[in-house]
Symmetry: D2
Subunit: 316 residues, 4 copies
């Protein structure tokens, strides 16, 4: 293992989701997750979680025929880091070009990962200034909404990819992320790989797309405060007729306490709490799980649900 | 604000505590906090928390006459970062010199902060290999002990300092940390300043030492998994006759859920849970609290306890 | 101690609160506590918690000049128990007479406790039938609201009384309740006494009224699901400008985890969680606390807040 | 529904468990559940949970060939209630006779339920007086152990029975319990029935024994303080190699948050938290679930685990 050098990417910034059921999806994010609409543009609305320091977290876009994921933007730590990463992306031949950023986001370099997922990288951003949602404690972006699931912040994205190896190399070699954990099948190939910036245990993840379709989403995840929040979220989804796919339970991988639901448009949404889990070690070795080890199921023994390997968006 | 550049210090490594009641203090850390003794040397024992990836977390040293803090070691992210910081410390005239590291820690450059607290910086370290404390999940340093307070990892240290300004400048200019929050008194001076590496909201903190004695400790803190752990810890300390000084409650500053106790030797120990709170913004502006604002007390209105401003170790 | 015989009173039914700030108080109960308005009549609205099996929980009544408590109704376990208790009340010379019950409550015998608090006892009641608030699980009265504090059910009432001894005897000898805990001052008098029906550790409580005014309220309490709910409630009250008087903390007496706030009308409202605490022993001896013991403060050492002994409603 | 009359049975008192792996079972209850050994007699040890007001909670008996359940004792609320129930049992022809009680328990009338499970009923009992386990709060039976799962109190027993109807009638007609919930199959027969005394939602439960063997156990359950305790318990069982059969999850029936494990002897042990759920309504109608409704699985959608319908003790 080479010695660690610092991260050029600060964090996952925001994600665009497509939905064929726009009104129901909007209800899910705005009313159940307590997100705030900060802008509307064309067929899209931009929503923010209460603890988001930037203007928006999710861009929700109506798409008549299919759910799925649009662009995922990540923030660079400074202008030099942005330049370094753009150069690396261009060198890898995956660049698309510069665009004006959306809703508070500065100039964004657009590119694609090897599976065809659209991504963007930016540094400049506008910090959210609360108006009628001023928090009582000034070290908080906006008031705690106190309703529904109270989604706090975006935590990670997990893409499906036809070639998890190629996408993983892109994460480490081109974007400069580190890998925390991975599943290696008996045939030597990876079933999934988890990548992170800084102390978080994962931010960007690839899972094997059994359809080999390309450009599909496994899920995005929000991070609440506590495990109790996730238990309460399960009650709220139950009361509101949202399909609970799996959990609450604890992942063996990265030990996240989780709940998976499908938003009305069909996209899988996770609520995930890594608790006090931070990867403090700058040289943390990658934890690799074998096929045999994964047969034990999740941390407390629950078998991984079948639909994890049959449902992704768009559905193909 | 200048643009952020990355952190050379990865995290707070370990801390030496002095105690005039060695046996009782050892009982506190080993039996109540469920820490494991990994080495004994002279008048000291080295103890580790269960989620510590390095060999040890706390060095507990018998000192007949007084409690207090010995050396605080921090880990650099790589050899180059170590060199950079040593050069900066030497340039600041605060260096002491290289020493062999203790118990799994590589060569350590020893220095002092402007208040006279001894510190060390190292890069090389040995990862803990569990023996009879093997965890069931391989992505964990050792087995969850399942007893007492189950202290998970060291979270931060809060020193008392005669000159909080000077110590703060040392943190940012010499060690390259960032400041997250601070209290500025009406007279323009700082009552306390919180510094952090990476996503954690604080790691190293200075509070005004009203005695102007020098080299004193306000507290060290351990991070448990959840707020419920802190509530349970309060019950355990109650049953074991440990002085609970304040809490459980929520800090306004950095919004940490906290509990403060005094270990038998007199050192103040905090159990602190920042929950899902991460400082994702690489350019996060410092949050400054005024004297007026601090009069509101803690987050939910509890007044800050008097002894916070009268008790430190050594007691003088 | 005489052998236990069963309880004629099943539980605390509902309470009328007076408020000089009707609109703000209504906002507090309906919007922050997520209670549902089920009826309006004259200057009163009737509100229910989501897990209330009867029609209503709180009757909120506008009263221009003062906050305070109106009638407290308790439910008898069956018609014979109702008759027995009415006979005992009449024998004690404290009866007022029969009235038609309010909003789903059957014939109610109205009476006064020795301090002048109005009370009622009834057996017949109407069970709530959910309409647009149907729960997903049929063993639940109505849907979990998933907003604000989600007040689950009324837990207890704590009255101020000029003569705690006389009121206490009324509870045991006339209403047939049992006493779980009490505070006896050095002068031999009681500072407070806790009474309960069945397994709950308290339902009806008297605290000494230092003003000797008569017919005043110390507080009413709601029971949420978990301690985490109470921590979250504190955040919600903080964000909404509600005065948090004390807590979250754990009572030494009955070990309840608590939070006290003042609703906008001035009445003290507690959120209290006794957790798994049930008084299973049918002959449970009364736990008596001395003045000396109470100096230790609450369970984890927080001193009892001064305003507990200076604020009651109506304010006199 | 006839009007409610009060309960003659106060609560489930204690249970005898058989184990073919005595030492390992003892380790499970004493070391993992933090129960205290209070007596040893022949092939049995008597253990108590920390919040048990009587002397013991579980009698663990070595039995070379098979796990399973011995006598289950329940406590009557007073001597008259005891007499009434003994008369009813004798009238039902299920009485065995009076015996001296065990370890702090007074004279016990022994009988059998229609499935052949041995039961006992007693009124006199000895309250536990803590010695080296004195609690800091005097309203608690003994000190909070602060280790392992910290089992607080016995919550309920769930027997397998060849004829759930007959056993259920015995509960209501002979023991005078009430039924809270039940599952009725499409063929009109009951798959399971839950019975309770007083405010608890269940204490004694019968589930259909698919083997029709007679005198078998589905599980016994302990009640911890909080849901977080159950999540922590799962971690502790994981670390200690205990088979986690199902959970943590939330039951649809009675809405209990649960975790099921198998103790080393093979008996299924549940940790169950009904939270703030109390059956306040003295006339609470029985909630009946259909086969169709049960197909939805547990509250949040997890399918009921297969082994619930294939594993009982003794294994036959």
């Amino acid at each position: 293992m080479t010695a660690y050098s610092s991260f050029d990417i600060a964090h996952l910034g925001n994600v665009e989701l497509f939905t064929p059921k726009f009104d129901e999806s909007l209800w899910f994010f705005r009313d159940l997750l307590a997100m705030r609409v900060v802008a509307e543009e064309g067929d899209s609305v931009y929503l923010r979680t209460w603890d988001e320091y930037e203007l928006y977290t999710i861009k929700l876009t109506a798409k008549p025929d299919a759910a799925g994921v649009g662009r995922t933007n990540v923030r660079a730590i400074n202008p030099e880091a942005l330049e370094r990463r753009v150069a690396a992306i261009e060198a890898a031949g995956l660049g698309v070009g510069w665009e004006d950023g959306e809703v508070g986001t500065g100039p964004t370099y657009v590119f694609k990962d090897p599976d065809g997922h659209e991504m963007g990288i930016y540094y400049e951003t506008e910090r959210y200034v609360a108006t009628d949602d001023k928090p009582s404690l000034k070290n908080q972006a906006s008031a705690f909404p106190g309703r529904g699931v109270n989604a706090r912040r975006l935590d990670h994205i997990n893409w499906l990819a036809a070639d998890v190896e190629a996408c993983g190399s892109f994460m480490t070699d081109v974007l400069g992320l580190r890998e925390s954990e991975r599943i290696r099948l008996d045939n030597g190939r990876f079933a999934a790989r988890w990548f992170h910036c800084s102390l978080k245990s994962y931010d960007l993840v690839y899972s094997d797309d059994w359809t080999k379709h390309g450009n599909r989403l496994h899920h995005i995840a929000f991070a609440p405060d506590t495990r109790e929040d996730i238990l309460k979220a399960a009650d709220i989804f139950l009361e509101n007729g949202i399909h609970i796919e799996s959990g609450p339970h604890k992942h063996a991988i990265n030990q996240t306490f989780f709940l998976y639901v499908w938003e009305p448009g069909g996209n899988r949404i996770e609520f995930a709490n890594a608790g006090a889990r931070l990867l403090l070690d700058p040289d943390q070795p990658v934890v690799e799980w074998t096929e045999e080890e994964r047969k034990k199921g999740q941390a407390w023994g629950m078998k991984t649900i079948e639909t994890f390997h049959t449902h992704g968006t768009p559905v193909v």
